[in-house]
Symmetry: C3
C-alpha cells in the first residue's frame, strides 16, 4: 500500500469577449494503491482542492463526496465517491479544446448526464461498477439512497437528514444508470440509460480513428428532464474531431442542445456551441494550447491560450 | 528532516434504521520528522482535511488548531496543537466497532473528556506533556490561556479577542489535566484528573489481555459539568471486549451515561449504548468490517458494513 | 516532471501584552518541477493551507489566486498566480524577528507594497517577469485586467464578473510595477516603481554585509495612496540589522510610517515600530527563536518565543 503524488498546473490568458484575463492554477493529487493477500486491488484518489471539509460537506474527499475509493478483482471494479454515472463511463464527452480544456467556453464539450457529472451534487457518495468481458465493458451506477436534489425552500414537505434543513425533500429517488461499451481498437461505441425519478436519459456515442484522424459523436435523448422554467431539456447531440501530426494536435467540436417549450404558443429552442483549438506538446509534461469558441449561451466569441503542465 | 505521506480510505454502507446509505471517504496524512544536532526529535502531523484555513479558523493545521507538532528528548515529549488531554492520553476510549469505527452509532465508544477531545473547540492550540519512567507514564495537559467556550449570545459580558464577537466571555479559565498510567504488558491502568473552571473530572480505566482475549473498562466521574438544560453530566462508565482469532477480531462494547436533574421533581436519567462488531483482515492494508449498535440516544438499531484501507 | 513535498512547523508562546497564548502550526508544501524537451524549465508550488477552493475563491491554488506556476528559460522567468510585485521582488522586506517571524507584532518588517503583497486581494492571478543580466536583475509585474479592489457596497456603479455582486467597481485599473536590482555580492541595491490607478509608489532598498554583520534599509514614497479616512499614506522607511555568531543570530529592526492629513487643521501623523530578536540554530531544521517588539500600532509591548521546524 502506497501513496503517490502527482500534480498539474497551467498559466495563460482567457479572453471573455471583452477583456483578456490571466488564468493560472496549480493542483496536487494523491493516488493511493494497495493489494490484499488474496490479490484484490484497492485504491483511492483525490486532489487537494477536493478536500473542503468545513466549507462544503457535499464536496469533500473525507466525506466521500469528492475523489473516490475503489476495489478491483476478477469480478470487476467497484468505485464509491464522486464517480461518474454508467452512461458517462461508457460514452464520455466530446473532445475538449483550448488551454483551459473547454472551461473558457462553459465546458460545452461535456455532455450533460442525468446522474453523476455535476447533477445531484447535494448527495452522499455515488457508486460505479465496471466489468470487462473480451472487448465489451459493462457499467452500472447508482446515487445514494437519499435524493437531496431539492433542499430548503421549494422542497417537498419533509425533513432530509442530509440537508438538515426543515422543509426538505424526503422522497428518496435513487438515480441509477446502466451502460455498455464495445471497443474494437480503431473504433468504439457506447450506449447508456439512466433514470432519476421521472427523468430518463438514453445516450449513444461512438468514436473512430483513421490513422492520425479521430472523430467522436454523441447523441443524448432525455424525457421529463427539467431545464429553465417553462422548458424541458429534450436532446443533446454533438461531434468532435482531431488530427494529430507529430507534436501538434488540431481539434474541433460542435454541440446542439434542444429544449421543448411546455407552454402553448411559446416556441421550442435550440442552442449551438462550437470551437476549434490546437495543442502543441513540448515534451516533459508541458503543452502549449489554445482555443476559440462561439456559443449561443455566451454573447461574445471567447478564446484562451497558454501552457499546461503535468507533474 | 523529511515528510512522509500516508492515507486511509473506506467504502461501505451505513444503515441508519430506515435507509442504507453509501459511506466512503479517502484521506491523506502528512507526517514530518526531524532531529536536531543534539539528538532532540521533533515532528508534526496533520491530514489534508484538517486544513480548513479560510473556512474554519478553529480547525486548521496552519493555525495550530488541528494536527499537532512536537519535540521529544530524554525529558519527555511536548506536543502542541489539537492534542488530547492528559486524562485521555492515559485512559483512552473503549474499543470501537464497525466499518466506520463507531461513527455510525454516534461514537459512544469515545469517552467524553472534559478538555481536548471535542470540548473547548473554539480555542487556540492545546499542549500535552508526556514522560515515561520504567513502566509508568505521566501526562500533563492544558488548554490555551483564553476560554472561548462561550462566544456570542449567552456569553458573559466582555469582548474576547479570539471570538471577535461583542458580548463574548472574557474570563480566561484554562482547562488542564493531570494523569498517570502503568503498563505491565498484559495489563495496564490509567488515572486522570481534569478541571475547567468549576467543572471537574476523574477518570479511571484499565485494560487486560489474556491470550487472544482483551477487555477494557473505563469509569468517569464529573462534577459541575453541564449537560442539556436542567441536567448535570454526572457519570460515564463502560466496558468493551475483543477476541482475535487469526485474521478475525470480534468486538463488543457497552457504555452508560448518568445525568442528574437539577430541578426538584424531575428524575435523573441514564442512557445506555451497546454494540457488537467484527473485523476481518485481508492483508496489505485492507480490512472488512461491520457493526451493529443500539443506543438510547438513537431511535433505531443502526449498522454498518464495508471495507477499510490503510495506505 | 516530479512533485516534492516539504513542510514547516512551529510551537511556542506569543505574549500579547496581557496574556501568553500557545502558538503552533504545521504546514505542508508541494513543489512541482519539470523540463520540456527543448530545455524550458517549468514548475509550481503551493501549500495545503493555500488551497481553500470552496471557502475562498480569491485565495485558492486551484483558482490561480494562491501559490504560483512558472516557466523559465534563457529569456527569463515568468510566474503567474499569487506573485509579489516587481518592486517587492527587487527590494523586499526588512529582516524579521521572533519565533513567529514578525507576525506577533503585526509583521511591520514587511514593507507595504502598492501591488501584490496583500493589496488587491480580490483579483485573479498576478504576473511577474524576472530577467538576469550579469549582476543586474530586472523585474516587471502586473495585476489581472480587472480591478476588483472595491466589491459590493461603496463600489462604483457597474457589475464586475469576478466580484459577482451588483454595484461592483467595473473600471479596470491594472496595477503594475517595474523594478531593477544590482547585486555586488557583499552589497545589493534595488529600486522599484508601481502604479495602481492614481496611486504611485517609489521604493529604494539596499543591503550590505560586513563579515558576520548585515544591514538592510528600505524607503518607500507613495502618492495618492489611501490610508484611514482623512489621511494619505505618504512614506515608509526602516532599517534592520543582524549579527551572526556560529549558531546564534541577533537581529533588530525599526520602521516608521508617515501619513498626511487631508483635512485642514488636522496634523499629519507618524507611527514607529521596532524590535529585537534572536535565533539559535539547533541543526537538522530546528531553530529556537524569540523576539520582543514595540509598535505605535499596538498598545502593549509584545513578545514571542518558541521553536521552529523545517522538514
Amino acid at each position: 500500500a502506497e501513496v503517490a503524488l502527482s500534480g498539474d498546473g497551467r498559466m495563460g490568458i482567457v479572453y471573455d469577449g471583452n477583456d483578456a484575463q490571466f488564468s493560472s492554477r496549480i493542483r496536487a493529487r494523491f493516488t493511493m494503491t494497495g493489494e490484499s493477500d488474496a490479490g484484490l486491488s484497492f485504491g483511492g484518489t483525490f486532489r487537494v482542492d477536493q478536500e473542503n471539509y468545513s466549507s462544503n460537506s457535499f464536496r469533500s474527499a473525507a466525506r466521500g463526496t469528492a475523489g473516490a475509493v475503489w476495489i478491483s478483482g476478477t469480478y470487476g471494479k467497484l468505485s464509491m465517491g464522486d464517480t461518474v454515472s454508467a452512461s458517462e463511463a461508457a460514452v464520455g464527452d466530446l473532445y475538449d479544446i483550448g488551454y483551459t480544456e473547454g472551461s473558457f467556453a462553459g465546458d460545452y464539450e461535456e455532455i450533460s448526464y442525468l446522474t453523476g457529472d455535476g447533477e445531484n451534487l447535494n448527495q452522499g457518495p455515488n457508486i460505479l461498477y465496471e466489468y470487462s468481458y473480451n472487448n465489451f465493458k459493462f457499467y452500472a451506477s447508482a446515487s445514494d439512497g437519499s435524493d437531496n436534489l431539492v433542499c430548503g425552500v421549494g422542497a417537498v414537505t419533509g425533513s432530509d437528514a442530509v440537508c438538515n434543513v426543515p422543509g426538505d425533500d424526503d422522497k428518496s429517488d435513487t438515480a441509477w444508470s446502466l451502460a455498455a461499451a464495445y471497443d474494437a481498437g480503431n473504433y468504439n461505441v457506447g450506449l447508456g440509460y439512466a433514470r432519476h425519478g421521472d427523468a430518463k436519459e438514453i445516450v449513444l456515442g461512438g468514436e473512430a480513428t483513421f490513422n492520425q484522424f479521430s472523430v467522436k459523436a454523441v447523441i443524448a435523448d432525455y424525457k421529463d428532464r427539467g431545464w429553465a422554467p417553462g422548458y424541458d431539456f429534450d436532446k443533446t447531440y454533438g461531434i468532435s474531431a482531431k488530427y494529430a501530426a507529430n507534436a501538434l494536435t488540431v481539434k474541433a467540436n460542435w454541440r446542439r442542445d434542444e429544449v421543448n417549450s411546455l407552454i402553448a404558443g411559446v416556441d421550442d429552442e435550440s442552442f449551438d456551441s462550437y470551437g476549434i483549438g490546437a495543442d502543441y506538446d513540448l515534451g516533459g509534461g508541458a503543452t502549449v494550447a489554445g482555443g476559440i469558441s462561439k456559443s449561443d449561451y455566451i454573447d461574445d466569441t471567447v478564446a484562451d491560450f497558454g501552457i499546461k503542465f503535468k507533474f
